[in-house]
Point group: C3
Chain length 344, copies 3
């Protein structure tokens, strides 16, 4: 029953969506009630009063505590019952699970495993997020009716781009250049270079290279549920593959995936780019990424519907599956407890 | 498999909703077709023709019989087949279950157990319903997506009022006075007095007591599915707790619950009050009760969704659970057949 | 697990609905992607790429092949993979099931059994379809949320007409004349004559017989899923029962049923009549048939909802069930493989 790697930090909600009211999120099949304390910390409790199972989220936030909407049992941020109406003191057994949280990159993260093992220093953070050379394009919390592992497959896989995203992320030519991959700890990196080709559609208009470019696509998948896609272009012949990227377009597409249950996930995404914020440009880029991620969603949800059918399928494995197989292997190790989680 | 107490009279439909047409109701997971005969009695038959299982409710009412809409098999009020097209006489095995019915308090009641055990004298009736000192505020048939036992818990429990109904049924203060309860046969009575407090919101404007009141709340739960809440107020210090209620507001909130299935019920309710009918006042009161019962529905349906989750819950019991535990015990006894039903 | 007779030609889609785009149909719980090749033949493939299970229907039609919308695997009409991106040649195991098809009576038919056993000469065809004395009233593809066998019962049964179709297909009188039936190979014929009665409503206005008619109703059910109802009228006393039908109204109502799953089917229907096409008349007839078939749908879907309930039913058999029981027996033989399918 180790279907999920519980000992990990998972994206819970965008920081901008958590405030002084009770909201709910579902992570690894657990329903949580989430709120910000008066001091600004984020509390995440199991969303069920242990008395009659009323969701705490239909109760009231009182200071830093939550009062159940049925009989008024009150719980603090640690899940301890501080008040039980009609009783001199609450029963010792009256408590709800509390989940450690942390914030990084505009995201609230939640630790779903043993609270004592939660290490806030291990929460994912991309240095470019704090680098003034980069600006942030805030994205969405896109619900996907598919297994988070199926979305993860997609985010270890540069080869689908030509077929799924022909008008946004792919160049017009066939993309037959070799894909490489490598496991690095709990991360799988999958990459491809396209030498001397046209700009991809979403990059057009951002910079004039006066000709073809060399393009890179590095898919960093941090098991179990974070992907960072480092992709960019520099004028061909200027040595980008060798490391000279002084005059380039570079972006990091960050995907923070919340596994909701076995067939549902939420794809939180943002994009960093190495140029200043510009509302008009950023809106255009955001629209392009939305379009592309909706294309993935459509494919992944259709796959899920086939996977849900009660039948045996004869499956074929292709060369391109190697990196996602490796990624799934790491998740299985983590779920089995044989690999400690480290996302930093 | 004695999940329901079948040997009992259950509310089926408001009398005003049963006439010379075929309607359907679902009780204890049985679908019934219901109609009034030419003589005014109420017939309740299983809603499935034993030939091909077409619901009889999509057929026609012919006199006091129902003709199946598929092949014309015809059944009388007792479920006997009186005509089978193309056959000289109907097969002896062609019959549908027929359920005894009775009417009381504007409600049609149905006996779901052995028809020979149905005792119409045992159908629930509150004497105040016929007392000219009381007028009736007709209520609704409110569908609730929750177990009828969860609604029953709610109707054995004065303590939830302060948290669920702060603007209608609760006074502004904390309600910490002691709750008492007692089993009386198949009934559990749970009660609380509040001495020298303000009127509750729905009572305001009905009578001017010139000051604080003593309030009583007696929750009479007749297992398996009837609740009568006797609640009222008299000027404080005039001896209401000792029995002097000459100048008081008194109401009986009657809840007749139809268990539809394990997670669905219908809450039929009406309220009796000790003052003459007055359309404007009654409409205001009806709106107040509707608001309050919708508040319960919201809580109970949220609880049901948690209970439906495939997981083990650690539950806490509080002192206030004692009477509902007793009520559930009686229902279990009745379902096991060890306690005969008597609701009068 | 021989719940379906797989070795049979089943209706897949109206020929008019299959062209140079990818559509989907579900037959015997298999999802198929369907398209017409450049040469005009109909291809039907399993709608799941064997790589990641993406439905091929969300890919692209390229010539006579289908390209998967996820990674570009390409399959020909026979289900062979002709291209796998990034690989010198596709893996031998990369193939999808391909289903033989044929066209007859404006319908595409699909063979769901062993492709080697598919005999296009056995596809159903009614000679009147090509007879210039008959014109075609094109019907619909009516989805019915009921077992195809329940619809088949209905199409072996003249006796339901008086109860389900009183305003379209039934005369006003009670229809107590005797029904006869006979098995002929994989077909069951069920028939009834009504002598010296009024015209049925849908026939009114088509021809003036100056008085009563003799009416015939022959229900030809070709197991597993084709019904042809030959019904007509001639002036009474002119010898229609003995074979003289020179001056008559005659129609063939053809029902081609696609079993989708155990509780869903699609009723494809058309009607042939022995008079020239006339748009106004044909539109009126089409509306009448639609009305009648919707009446059946309502009954059959209500029956299905009862059959879906988790309970044991006491069922009664009537004389009229004999032919549908025989029909179901043939389907069972075919499903068990003991009776070869032959629909011609």
């Amino acid at each position: 029953m180790n279907q999920y790697a519980r000992e990990a930090w998972y994206p819970l909600a965008w920081s901008r969506d958590v405030g002084r009211n009770l909201i709910t999120r579902r992570v690894l099949e657990d329903d949580l009630v989430v709120y910000r304390t008066e001091g600004g910390a984020v509390a995440a409790l199991e969303d069920a009063c242990p008395h009659r199972l009323a969701p705490l989220s239909i109760g009231r936030l009182l200071g830093d505590t939550v009062e159940c909407g049925y009989h008024g049992l009150t719980f603090d941020c640690d899940g301890r019952c501080t008040h039980a109406p009609g009783m001199p003191r609450p029963p010792a057994s009256a408590r709800v699970r509390s989940f450690p949280t942390a914030e990084s990159m505009g995201m609230v993260w939640v630790w779903m495993g043993d609270p004592l093992a939660a290490d806030r220093a291990a929460v994912f953070h991309l240095p470019a997020y704090d680098d003034p050379a980069y600006s942030v394009i805030e994205g969405d919390a896109l619900p996907v009716q598919a297994s988070y592992l199926s979305l993860a497959d997609n985010l270890c896989d540069p080869t689908h781009v030509a077929f799924v995203h022909p008008t946004t992320l792919a160049s017009t030519g066939r993309e037959e250049t070799r894909v490489q991959h490598e496991r690095q700890g709990n991360k799988v990196v999958t990459w491809r270079w396209v030498i001397d080709g046209p700009l991809i559609p979403v990059f057009q208009g951002l910079k004039d290279f006066g000709g073809n470019v060399d393009r890179w696509h590095y898919y960093h998948y941090h098991a179990p549920s974070i992907a960072v896609i480092d992709f960019g272009s520099a004028r061909t012949g200027t040595g980008a593959p060798e490391g000279n990227r002084e005059d380039c377009i570079q972006m990091y597409a960050c995907h923070f995936i919340t596994p909701v249950d076995e067939r549902t996930c939420v794809q939180h995404w943002l994009v960093l780019k190495n140029s200043p914020a510009d509302p008009a440009v950023d809106d255009r880029l955001r629209a392009g990424f939305r379009h592309a991620f909706d294309e993935d969603k459509r494919v992944l949800e259709a796959i899920q519907r086939n996977e849900d059918k009660p039948r045996e399928w004869q499956r074929v494995r292709l060369a391109l599956d190697a990196s996602s197989m490796k990624m799934r292997g790491i998740v299985e190790e983590m779920a089995a407890g044989s690999t400690p989680a480290s996302t930093r």
